[in-house]
């Protein structure tokens, strides 16, 4: 890391602290000593050229990456000052407290209602299901569009609606952080804008971390930006992090400037 954060944030404002994170696929090192903080109730964007490890980094936050055979992680991710990689921590618990939305909308082949209720059921929710499903769908700005057809298949929705259904499904289990891996890259421009404005609403209650290859999107939607890059060895490393405005107007590192002005990547 070439540029440290200007001010070390205090625990209460920080949702995740990444410390010396290294990720490997077999012998290949995909991430090299990544350290930075992710602020609470903000949108943090991860940007960088394709293949530099953005998805890998995101999936390390909720221990999804270790589901890939051969994947290995070193270092710490502190969530509420607890290392999610501590041997006493169950990865399953990390995953329902840090939710995830994927690049391609991936609703289950179930009804809209059952999609949202899925996480409630598997985690033994004891409250009112109808109420929780409605709350989640409202949270994802989808309720008004689907309230009369909750028992239709999730596949019957448009791409943008499906992605918001996946967000509602993630919200249902009341996570603290929502990780989104290029959530709008499979969507049309209007659906993309809807997802972006939804992200701005979500940070009232949640912390959002979003991977994007779209510079304008990062600039529009995020409060903080982390720029990753890679060299010949294809191992991703963090170049700099900072307030989005500063990264886009006055980056500290010339590689960041080259990237955001479109000179590579």
């Amino acid at each position: 890391m070439t540029t440290a954060d200007s001010a070390e944030m205090t625990g209460a404002d920080t949702a995740l602290k990444v410390r010396n994170l290294n990720a490997y696929y077999g012998a290949f090192r995909a991430l090299k000593d990544v350290s930075f903080d992710i602020p609470r109730n903000k949108v943090t964007a991860l940007i960088g050229p394709s293949g530099c490890g953005k998805s890998t980094l995101l999936r390390c936050f909720n221990r999804m990456n270790e589901l890939i055979p051969g994947a290995r992680i070193e270092g710490e991710v502190l969530f509420n000052d607890e290392n999610v990689y501590h041997p006493a921590i169950d990865p399953t618990e990390v995953r329902y407290r840090i939710g995830m939305v994927f690049q391609k909308p991936n609703p289950f082949p179930k009804s809209i209602y059952d999609n949202v209720a899925f996480g409630l059921r598997i985690n033994g929710y004891r409250g009112d299901y109808d109420e929780a499903v409605e709350r989640s769908l409202r949270g994802a700005a989808l309720w008004d569009e689907v309230k009369d057809r909750l028992h239709e298949s999730g596949f019957a929705l448009s791409g943008g609606q499906q992605q918001r259904l996946c967000i509602a499904r993630a919200l249902a289990v009341e996570p603290e952080i929502i990780l989104m891996d290029e959530p709008a890259s499979a969507l049309d421009p209007i659906a993309t804008l809807e997802i972006e404005s939804l992200m701005r609403e979500l940070i009232r209650d949640y912390t959002v971390v979003v991977v994007t290859h779209n510079m304008q999107q990062a600039a529009r939607v995020s409060d903080k930006t982390a720029f990753l890059n890679m060299d010949e060895d294809r191992a991703g490393y963090l170049v700099e992090t900072g307030d989005t405005h500063q990264i886009f107007t006055n980056p500290a590192d010339e590689r960041t400037e080259a990237y955001i002005t479109g000179r590579f990547g």
Binding site: N62, M64, L67, P69, T92, E93, R95, Y96, R97, G99, M100, F102, K104, N106, F108, P109, F118, G119, R121, I122, N123, S153, F155, A156, C166, R169, A170, V173
Partner: protein, 295 residues
């Protein structure tokens, strides 16, 4: 280059190319005609011989020494017993084995050996299973020539096919659905139970029905287990003796009296109807789920 030289450099010979095309088309047609003709002649002959002997009492009566009174009752019930029990044995074991191999087994040489051997078992001749069943279930485990021994033998025969079909179905569940479930905090078993198995059920059912429909027509392994062909009762208990449709047909064919030729043909018609019905159900399930997943 100018269009004028074109003719000096190319010899299109279009007429000859088209003739070749027609010759090959005729050969392909011939291949399908030869393939279908055998089947059509066989079915026509069976229908011609057997149709006059088909009647309601043929389905409900027991076999008899007199062709006019002979029926398939014991064979039909025997086949239902065998297929029912075989299905009950193979579906849980086959799906369980497929889930283990696809979701849990470490990817190492031992797993590879198991996988290769399951594929090989699916190709073992059915009489070998019959002899194995005779030695193990009938004799060693003292089940006698019972429905249970027959169904267990048939299960050995069908199991590799069910495992292969189930693995295929499990592998076709999109990994994005597994990931979504893991991302919501599902445990491995919950992913298997809530996502993988429910989504593979249509594929598993299709494969299992096709495998069972093959088993309905299998005579060889059942002849090894059940020497009996003249049964005037229906099994009421898994330890009862039994016969099945192909054995009954085989027996009728080998009778000298002319009337039994017709009875055998009538039996074949019944067996064909059962097989076609089972295959139609399997195709229906497959098409319905294909349509649904394309939506």
């Amino acid at each position: 280059m100018a269009a004028a030289d074109w003719a000096s450099r190319f010899r299109p010979n279009l007429a000859r190319r088209k003739v070749w095309g027609r010759i090959w088309f005729a050969l392909f047609m011939l291949a399908i005609v030869v393939g279908l003709a055998g089947l059509v002649i066989l079915v026509m002959r069976v229908l011609y011989q057997g149709a006059p002997w088909l009647s309601f009492h043929f389905l409900t009566d027991y076999p008899s020494r007199f062709p006019e009174q002979a029926g398939m009752r014991s064979a039909i019930f025997g086949s239902i017993w065998i297929i029912g029990l075989t299905g009950a044995f193979t579906v849980p074991v086959g799906v369980g084995a497929a889930v283990y191999l696809e979701e849990y087994a470490p990817k190492n040489w031992l797993t590879r050996i198991i996988e290769v051997n399951i594929s090989n078992l699916a190709g073992v001749p059915s009489i070998v299973y019959g002899l194995l069943g005779l030695a193990v279930f009938v004799q060693l485990l003292a089940m006698g020539r019972s429905v249970l021994a027959g169904a267990l033998t048939m299960s050995l025969l069908v199991l590799p096919v069910v495992i292969i079909a189930s693995r295929e179905a499990i592998r076709s569940v999109p990994s994005s659905h597994r990931e979504a479930a893991y991302g919501l905090g599902a445990t491995k078993f919950q992913v298997v139970k809530e996502i993988v198995v429910p989504q593979s059920i249509p594929g598993i059912m299709t494969g299992t029905i096709l495998a069972l429909s093959r088993a309905v027509g299998e005579a060889a392994p059942m002849i090894a287990i059940s020497a009996l062909v003249f049964l005037t009762f229906v099994p009421t208990d898994p330890l009862d003796k039994f016969t099945v449709m192909p054995i009954q047909i085989f027996n009728w064919v080998s009778r000298p009296q002319e009337g039994f030729r017709g009875i055998a043909a009538a039996g074949i018609i019944v067996l064909l109807v059962v097989l076609l019905t089972m295959n139609a159900v399997a195709v229906y399930i497959r098409n319905r789920t294909q349509r649904r997943s394309e939506e």
